[in-house]
Symmetry: D3
Subunit: 229 residues, 6 copies
Amino acid sequence: MRNVLAIGAHPDDIELGCGGTLAAHRAAGDPVTMLVVTGGQNGPGEVAERRAEAEAAARSLDCLLLWGRSRDCAVAADADTIAVIEGAIRATEADVIYVHAPDDSHQDHRAVAAATLSAARHNRRVLHYRSPSTIKFEPSLYVDISAHLDRKLAALACHRSQVESSAMVDPEVVAASARHFGAQARVRFAEAFVPSRFVWDLAPPPQLGLALAEVPTYQALPTDEQRVA
Amino acid sequence: MRNVLAIGAHPDDIELGCGGTLAAHRAAGDPVTMLVVTGGQNGPGEVAERRAEAEAAARSLDCLLLWGRSRDCAVAADADTIAVIEGAIRATEADVIYVHAPDDSHQDHRAVAAATLSAARHNRRVLHYRSPSTIKFEPSLYVDISAHLDRKLAALACHRSQVESSAMVDPEVVAASARHFGAQARVRFAEAFVPSRFVWDLAPPPQLGLALAEVPTYQALPTDEQRVA
Amino acid sequence: MRNVLAIGAHPDDIELGCGGTLAAHRAAGDPVTMLVVTGGQNGPGEVAERRAEAEAAARSLDCLLLWGRSRDCAVAADADTIAVIEGAIRATEADVIYVHAPDDSHQDHRAVAAATLSAARHNRRVLHYRSPSTIKFEPSLYVDISAHLDRKLAALACHRSQVESSAMVDPEVVAASARHFGAQARVRFAEAFVPSRFVWDLAPPPQLGLALAEVPTYQALPTDEQRVA
Amino acid sequence: MRNVLAIGAHPDDIELGCGGTLAAHRAAGDPVTMLVVTGGQNGPGEVAERRAEAEAAARSLDCLLLWGRSRDCAVAADADTIAVIEGAIRATEADVIYVHAPDDSHQDHRAVAAATLSAARHNRRVLHYRSPSTIKFEPSLYVDISAHLDRKLAALACHRSQVESSAMVDPEVVAASARHFGAQARVRFAEAFVPSRFVWDLAPPPQLGLALAEVPTYQALPTDEQRVA
Amino acid sequence: MRNVLAIGAHPDDIELGCGGTLAAHRAAGDPVTMLVVTGGQNGPGEVAERRAEAEAAARSLDCLLLWGRSRDCAVAADADTIAVIEGAIRATEADVIYVHAPDDSHQDHRAVAAATLSAARHNRRVLHYRSPSTIKFEPSLYVDISAHLDRKLAALACHRSQVESSAMVDPEVVAASARHFGAQARVRFAEAFVPSRFVWDLAPPPQLGLALAEVPTYQALPTDEQRVA
Amino acid sequence: MRNVLAIGAHPDDIELGCGGTLAAHRAAGDPVTMLVVTGGQNGPGEVAERRAEAEAAARSLDCLLLWGRSRDCAVAADADTIAVIEGAIRATEADVIYVHAPDDSHQDHRAVAAATLSAARHNRRVLHYRSPSTIKFEPSLYVDISAHLDRKLAALACHRSQVESSAMVDPEVVAASARHFGAQARVRFAEAFVPSRFVWDLAPPPQLGLALAEVPTYQALPTDEQRVA
C-alpha cells in the first residue's frame, strides 16, 4: 500500500496530468489525496462552480481533496506555498508525489513544481506529469491506464466549465496523448512521467489480511476543518 | 517551390514519419522524392511484395520513389551509403531533407540518419522525423497535416504486409500521435520534427505564371534506369 | 504575409537579437512590431535618450514600436507583464513572435521570455533569439541575413548610448556572430534561433494583387494613444 | 514476481552496475538471469579464469548465467548480437532488463547497450546502469541496496583477476558510489539507473500461496546445453 | 595567484560544495573569500550560533568571510542581491567564482545561483558546485582534493548545529561523494563542478619573489566595517 | 609544464579546432604533439601534398607531428585505432588531450572522438574541439587566443589545398568564430571546448630554473622511425 499525493495548481490540472494513474492507484488499494493549490479564480468559470466541479471529479476518482490558499495566476514558490505542500505531505504520509513538470509556460505550474520539489526534498518518489502548457518533457516512466482511461475522461468531464471554454482541455487530445504515450510504453493507453527521483521498491509487499487489503472507500469529502490550508 | 527529399531505411518508414508532410508539400506544388535505403529484406513480407507496396504508397502520395542498395538490418553509415544519399541529393537538387531521428533503437535508422547528416553537410534544411522505435525526440518544428492525415493513412495502408504483421505499424497510433503533436503545435493534426539545421526562407516566393504554379503531376514511377542506386 | 512581433526587455535587445531578421521580414512585405518591455531606466544612458534611440532604430528598420511599462532590472513574469504582452499579440494579430532565450543571466531577459511563453501559449510560432548574456543556446533555426546585416548594424548604431558604454554591445561581435551562425546555417550571415514551437507553413501564399503585396511603409511612429501599455 | 535479465559486455560489468539490485530481486523472489556477451578475452586474466570467476559470482548472487559469443573489444551492435540478446529475452520471458548506459567510453559497452535497445524494442522496462567508463549519466530511478551492498561486494570479490589488476574495479569506489547515489535517493545505499522506458506496475501482485511465494533457489548453474548462445 | 570568491546561500553551503577546493586554493597561495548571502535564520540552530560556526569554519579554512543581508528561505534574485554580490566581486577582484548549481530544489540556492550569474556577467570563470538538494548536475570540471579532504571535513564539523540536526549534512556522504567524483576524475578524492564559463589560463604564472609567493595568512576575520553588505 | 596531445581525423582538423590553443601552449612552454589519424586520402588534394602541408603547419606551430594509419572516410573506433591513440598517449605522456567533439556529421570525426575517449580512459583532461561539421556543441571551457590568432591562421594557410577547395575551411569563418567564442568567454578571441573530463590543477607549478622554464624548441620533425604508427 502506497500513500499517494497529487498536486496541481488549478482545478482540473491533476486530472489532466495523472487522473488515470490515480484511478490505477485506487484500484490497487492505495489511498490518494489531491491538493489543488489555487481556487482557479481566473476562470473560465466561477470559483464556487469550479470548486464543485473539482469535488465531483475527486469523488468520481474516489480520492480525497485538499485546497491550498494561493490565488490563480499568482502562485509563488515561496515559504508559504512550500509550507502548505509540506503540510499535505505530512498529513498524507505521502510515499509517492505527482506534480507538474518544471518547464511549463504557465507561471503557476512552474511555481507549484518548484515549491513541491522543495517541500518533497526528503521524499523518495517525485514524478512530474505533463500539462497542455508544458514545454520540454522527456518522459521515461509510464503507468498503464488502459483499464482506467474511461475514469480519467469521466473525471475530466466533471470540469464542465473548462471542457466547454478552455482550448487547453480537450478530451480528444487527452485520449490521443494517452494512446501516443501508450505506444511509447508498449501498452495501449498510458500516462507519462518524468521522475525527479524514483526509488523502485522491489520488496514483496507485506501480506495483509484481506480486510485490510481491500480498496478503502472514502465516506465523504473532508470538511474545511480537515483541510490543510 | 521547394525540392523535397525524404529518406528512410525501410519501406513504410517515410510514410510513418512524414507522410502527411509529403502530402502537404505536394499540395503546395513541391516535387517530392522518397529514397528507401534497403529493400526491407527482413520482413515481415517478401521483398517483391514490399517493393510493390512501397510503389503503391509513393503513387498514392504522388511522389517519386528511389531505392538504395543496402540490406535490411545491415545498413552502415559508411562511404557507400553516404554516396547513395549524396547521389539522391544531387539528382533531386534537394532544398529540404527529411530523415530518421539519430537516437533510435533500430540500428538501420541510426545508420541512415548518420549517413544523411554526412551527405547533407552542405544543405540548409535537414529535419528529423520520429519512428515508433525512436528514443529521445524533442520536436520543435511542426507541419500542419490536418488536411492530409487521410492521405498519410491511405499511403500507410498500402503497406499491407506491415500493417497486418508489425506491432510497430498501427494506424490507431499514427492518428493519435498526429493529434498529440497537433495539440503541441496548436493545430488539429501535425507531424513533428527535430531540425538539425533549418534555414527559414522569408523571401517572397517568385511570382510564377499560373501554369507553372500548378501542382505538378508525376506521369509514372521512375524506371530502373532513372533510379539512383 | 506574416504579422511579426519581436519582444525585448530593454531598448537595443531586439536589434541585437533579431534585427537582421526583422529587416528580412520587412523586405518580404511582413508588418513588424517591436515591443520593448522596459524603458531601460538603469542605463547607461538617460531614459529620454534611450527612448529616442529606440525610436530611431525602429524607424531605420521600418518597424512599429510599442513600449511596455515595466522597470529596468525589475521585470516580473507576472500577470501584469503577461497582460501587456497578450495585448501586443492581440493588437498585432501576431503570426510569429521573437523573444529572448529563457536561459539568460539577466533577470529581465528570463522574465520577458517566461512571460512571453505564457502570453503566446496559443501561438504557433515562438522563436528565441540570443543575447550577449544568454547562457545555454542550441539554435536549430536560422534566418539568412546576408542582405540585411548592414541594416542590423545601422539599427544598432542608433543606440549610441549603449554602443559607447556597454561592453555587451559591440558591432564587431555582432558581425562575427552573424558569420559564425551563417557558417552553421550554410549561408554567409545568419541570425540563429531556438524554436519553442514553430509550425512551418507549406501552403502557397495567397496570390495577392500587386498593390497589396507591396512592402507596406509605416507613415509614422505610433502616438502614445496607439501604444499598448 | 518479475523475470529479470541483466546484460553486460564483460565478466564483472553486471555485478559492478547492478549487483545489489539483482540481490534485491532475488530477495523479493524474482528469478534473475545474467547474460555476459563476451568472454573477456582481453583480460586482465585468462578466459577460463574469468569464466570461473563469473560463475562463482553468479552463484554467490544465486542467479542464472548465460554467455554470449562475441569477442572482447570487438562487440558489434549488429544482427548477430541482437539475435543473441533476443534469444535471452525470449528464454527468460524478461519483464525487466538491465544493461549498460549508451554513452560510455568503452566501445563494447556502447555496442551492448545499442543491441539491447534493439532487441528489447517490445519490452516495457529497460534500465541502464552505470560503469566506471560511463560518460553522461543522469539517473532518475534508484533501487535501495542498503540490505544488499555486502552481497554486491562479495560478488565483485569473486572477480579476483579484475579487482587485483584493473583500475576500474575498486571496492572502495563501489561502496562510495552506492552511498553517493543513496543520498540522492534518500536512502542509505542505492544503485542508480537511467530508464529508457519503465512501466511502473501499480496492480496488486497476485496473492500467491506461500509455497510459491518463497524465494526460489537455483539448484545449479546451467549446463552448456541450457545456455542461449 | 588567483583571487577566489565562493558564494553560498546559507552557512555551511560553501563548505559542503567546495570546501576542499578552497583549501587547495589556499595551499596554492590564492586569497579566498566566502560570501554567505543569508544568516541561516531558519535553522536548525540559532543565528548567533550559526554565525559563530561559519566564522570558525572560515578560520579553519583560512578564508575571509563576508555576510550578505538576505533572509533564509526568502532570497530573491533581484537587484539588491545582485548588488551585494557585485560588491563582493569588486571588493575581492575575483578571478574565479564558485556558486550553487542553478537547478536545485532549494529556492535560495536557485536565487543565489541566478543572482551570481547576473553579477558575474563580465567574469571569465564561474563554476557551479553541488549541494545535497541539487537536482540536475552533470559535472565536467574537477579539483583534486585528495590532500584536502580532511580540511573540508574539519570545516564542516565546525557547523555543529547542522551536522547534528540536518539530514542534508552528513560527513559520511561528503566523503563518499568525494570518492565517487574522484573516480570520475581519475584521482582519489575530488570536488566536481559544472562550468558556466571557464577560461583556462595557459600563460606561465609570473615569477614572483618567494616572499610574495608564500601562502598568505589572514590575521583576523573582517570586522563589520570591512564587510561588504 | 603540461604534455599536450591534439588528435584529429584529417590534416587541418587540429589546426581548425584548436590551433590557437596549441600556440598558447607552446608560448607557455608546453611540449605539443599532433596526431593525424588518416592521410586525408579523399582530398581535395593529393596525399603527398597534404602530408607536406600538415608538416608545414606543424612546423609553423612548432609542434611535433605523428601520423596514424587509418584511411580517410573509413576510420573505425575499433581496437586498432584505439591502440594507435594509446600509443601516442603513452609516447607523449599526455597531460591534456584535445580531440573532435563526439556529435559530428563526419563519420571519421565521430570515430576518432570515440576511439580517443576509450584510449584516454585513464587521463584527467580530455577536451573536445569544434569542427565545421560538428552538430551539438555547448562549450563551457575556453582558451584565450587573442595573442595567437595570427599563428592559427598562418598554420591553416599552410593547408593550401583545403583553403582553396573546401567550403569547410574558410579563414573568415575561423576568425569570426574566434571572436564569437571570445565574446562568450569575455576575452577578445577564444577557442571553445567541451570537457569530457577536466581536472583543474591548482597546485603552484614547480619552480623551475630559468633554463628549463624556457620555451623548448623542436629541432626537427620526427623521422618515420620516431613516429608512432
